[in-house]
Amino acid sequence: MIISVVSGKGGAGKTTLAASIAQVFSAEFYDLDVDAPNAEYFLQPEFSKKVPVTQPVPVFSAELCDGCGICTKECRFHALYKILNTVYLTEPLCHGCGLCKMVCPQQAISYHDSTVGDIRSGYSQRTKNMVHIGDLIVGSTRGTYLISEMVKKIDADKLSVIDGPPGNSCAAVAAIKPADLVVLVVEPTPFGFHDMQQTEQIVQQMGKNYLIIANKAMRTADVDHYFQNRTKQAALTIALENRYHKANLQGEILSQQFSEIHAGLHQVINPELIRP
């Protein structure tokens, strides 16, 4: 059983709620917000393992390459360029597709593995389970690849929580794809609703079972306004309160500090876990 926590908008409370859900159910945790991972500040795992994630990238043989430049023209990702008669690689742009090697008339290209990021793992006393953090190399374009590689390692038989990336691009899709249950976190503001509805569209197109949690809610009238005329209502609403904010910014897990949040999450998510 895999639960993916996503929101569209950044700062809606994905990590806050993903950490709380993992704490309530003692679930294994995957931080897939690989270019701004923050879950470790809440889960405080004792890191015991760091595994590099690699992808193949081309290397050019100086002896064989005659500088014809065919590879630079064929690369769809503009990752190759030629100066005088030497071909260079802009590694962060390379997708490791292998086309340059196929088109090279001199067989001057081979592939070797290069690191795009790391997965750090460790045990969290707070969730009583393992935590895996994806760290993309700063500036890399291969975030979605790193997410997919991490997803491959998830054991679907165990209860796992995924902390997804913000936005509604292919990276979000990759984090939603393995989910049995999607938790959509919405900040009930004009921004939050706009972005969440786009994520909801993706979730619905993928035919996923999902529930909505409204976080940082202010006046009840505002929240009601957003949810009126919607078939899917918020399963749980968490208020914007200074005490939550204060605990959160210092890396406390809300469900551990506040019994009402622990109880609320248990009540809405537990029935989903025991469903056939």
Binding site: G8, K9, G10, G11, A12, T15, D35, A36, P37, N38, Y41, P56, E74, R76, F77, P92, H95, G96, C97, G98, L99, M102, V103, L136, V138, G139, S140, T141, G143, P165, P166, G167, N168, S169, C170, A171, A172, V173, T189, P190, F191, H194, D195, Q198, T199, Q201, I202, Q205, K216, M218, R219, D222, L240, N242, H245, K246, N248, L249, Q250, G251
Partner: protein, 290 residues
């Protein structure tokens, strides 16, 4: 000469868009850019009138001509992304994982695979009270390449040049990957909006590392402040480490999100007008000096 200011944070929800909108409202003529193309919020906060819509095409995607395809399967082993499968009838299927590399098209002995255009979204030119707003909507789930960001930014430069507008202000995407890079290449200064939290600090460090690689000067605005002197001290130390000058501080104040509910920004709130004006002065004076 046009000067470009980008507002980023690393962390989502730190306050990029509300600060960007506030700054824009306090400026003279300006071209505003929403570079967060897959969760575009600046248009919600800035009253605008849409002038034009242009379709955006992302990567070309593999398409099989089933009349030509013999089902030999050469493409299956060429694809590094597991995006091609063959069903029981031998029909070759391309799924949504296709990254558009064209390796399959190259190896196909029948030339049965073409790389076809696929619409990735739309981008818009709109007018605002004091200039223009260039923004875009990526189709949910599409590949968020920096290409669309580059497109809206180049359109902004063209308009700024044509209309002789001195400033381009860019509302950046969250994160520190390719979209962030596409938003900061060639800008004159970055304003980093840093939320007072451990997450905000961590993401600021990643952002500062990225900005440093491009040798762009940056300023820091501390947002949602006033709850933890300890976290604040750490942010101040990190800013010093990366030579980011702290030029303002906005407290955690529930009146701010409340104002956002009615689409008001800090520029519309008497108690924060001064902060924003001073912030803007510091940024613009740093640009006129150089």
């Amino acid at each position: 000469m046009t000067r470009q200011i980008a507002i980023l944070s690393g962390k989502g929800g730190a306050g990029k868009t509300s600060i960007t909108a506030s700054i824009i409202k306090m400026m003279g003529s300006v071209v505003a850019v929403d570079a967060d193309v897959n969760a575009s919020n600046l248009p919600i906060l800035l009253p605008h009138v849409q002038q034009s819509t242009t379709a955006y095409y992302g990567m070309n995607i593999a398409q099989v001509d089933h009349d030509q395809c013999t089902g030999c399967g050469a493409c299956l082993s060429a694809c590094q992304f597991d995006a091609i499968s063959q069903n029981e009838e031998g029909r070759i299927l391309i799924d949504s994982d296709c990254e558009g590399c064209a390796a399959c098209a190259f190896v196909c002995p029948e030339n049965a695979i073409n790389m076809a255009e696929r619409k990735g979204g739309d981008w818009y030119v709109s007018s605002i009270d004091n200039g223009y707003l260039i923004h875009a909507d990526l189709i949910p789930g599409e590949d968020n390449s920096g290409k669309l960001i580059t497109k809206v930014r180049s359109e902004a430069s063209t308009i700024a040049k044509e209309k002789d507008i001195a400033y381009i202000v860019i509302d950046g995407p969250p994160g520190t990957s390719c979209q962030a890079i596409s938003s900061i290449t060639g800008v004159d200064v970055v304003l980093a909006v840093v939320e007072e939290s451990l997450s905000g600090l961590s993401d600021y460090r990643r952002l500062a590392e990225l900005i440093e690689k491009f040798s762009i000067p940056h300023f820091v605005l501390l947002n949602k402040a006033g709850f933890s002197a300890e976290v604040e001290d750490k942010i101040v130390a990190a800013a010093a480490e990366f030579s980011g000058k702290i030029i303002g501080q906005i407290p955690f104040d529930q009146d701010i999100p409340r104002a956002l509910q009615s689409l008001q920004s800090l520029a519309d709130m008497d108690e924060y007008k001064k902060t924003i004006t001073e912030l803007l002065e510091q940024i613009t004076s740093s640009l006129t000096k150089t």
